[in-house]
């Protein structure tokens, strides 16, 4: 039996890598994918805890996260397309109209 901590470690690594991806990537699509990576890391943690506590409720949550991830990918990618249409780029460094 593999200890819980191993799974959690993998989850942490994946989450951290996702974060790094969000931070260092300049491509909007890669950033979105890094976010997916972070969601997956969270999913892994949920599944491991579910197994640990023998509670399948967490599976439902993961299921819902899938739905959210799908929605997020759909909306996020539409945004990417919209932005690309306007600016002809998906470089986040070109997008600074949030400036306060």
């Amino acid at each position: 039996m593999i200890p819980l901590s191993h799974y959690l470690l993998v989850s942490a690594v994946l989450f951290g890598l996702g974060t790094v991806g969000v931070l260092i990537s300049r491509n909007l699509i890669t950033i979105l994918m890094s976010v997916e990576l972070m969601l997956n890391a969270a999913n892994l943690a949920l599944i491991s805890f579910a197994r640990w506590h023998a509670d399948p409720g967490a599976h439902v949550f993961v299921f819902i996260i899938f739905v959210v991830a799908a929605a997020e990918a759909a909306v996020g990618l539409s945004l990417v397309i919209a932005i690309f249409r306007r600016k002809n780029t998906v470089d986040v460094d070109e997008l600074n109209i949030l400036k306060g």
């Binding site: 579910a50 640990w52 759909a74 460094d93």
Partner: protein, 176 residues
Amino acid sequence: MDFAVFWIAAGVAGAAAINLIFQSKPINSVLSLVVVLFALAVLYLQLSAEFIAALQIIIYAGAIMVLFLFVVMLLNLNQDQFGSNRKPGLRSFGVLIGGTLIIEISLIARAFVSSSPTDGQVVAAEFGSVAQVGRLLFGEYLLPFELTSILLLIAVAGALVLAGKREEAQPPEERS
């Protein structure tokens, strides 16, 4: 055996994730992410979450990633067409932050584990099966489950509005 599977899967996932974030071509990143998803599906199976593992392959790797792939193709972003990096410091800073985060989360995870009394539990064979999760979904969690459909509906509408063709000519708000 278990350990070997675990380490292989974990190693593949980690390597693919690293490849994901450091690839300059989005298409490669997408493919790396698919690899990560498959590796994670193996881990899910190991954790006796069959239903989720199946969903992971079918929906995530099958549907969502195709969406990504489609957009990447659509926008033809294969070449690295970006200008010079405006925030050169952010690259190492991001790695640093990510590293710290990994260490911190691991520490917390360890704290959890060390406070847990037992090392794993025996679960029923039914655990994580389609039937069991399905019962939960249509029983105890019916309302959230139905709500997800609304969420998806909204997402579809949003995606259509955002990415759909504009009939009326919008003034192109060019900000050099």
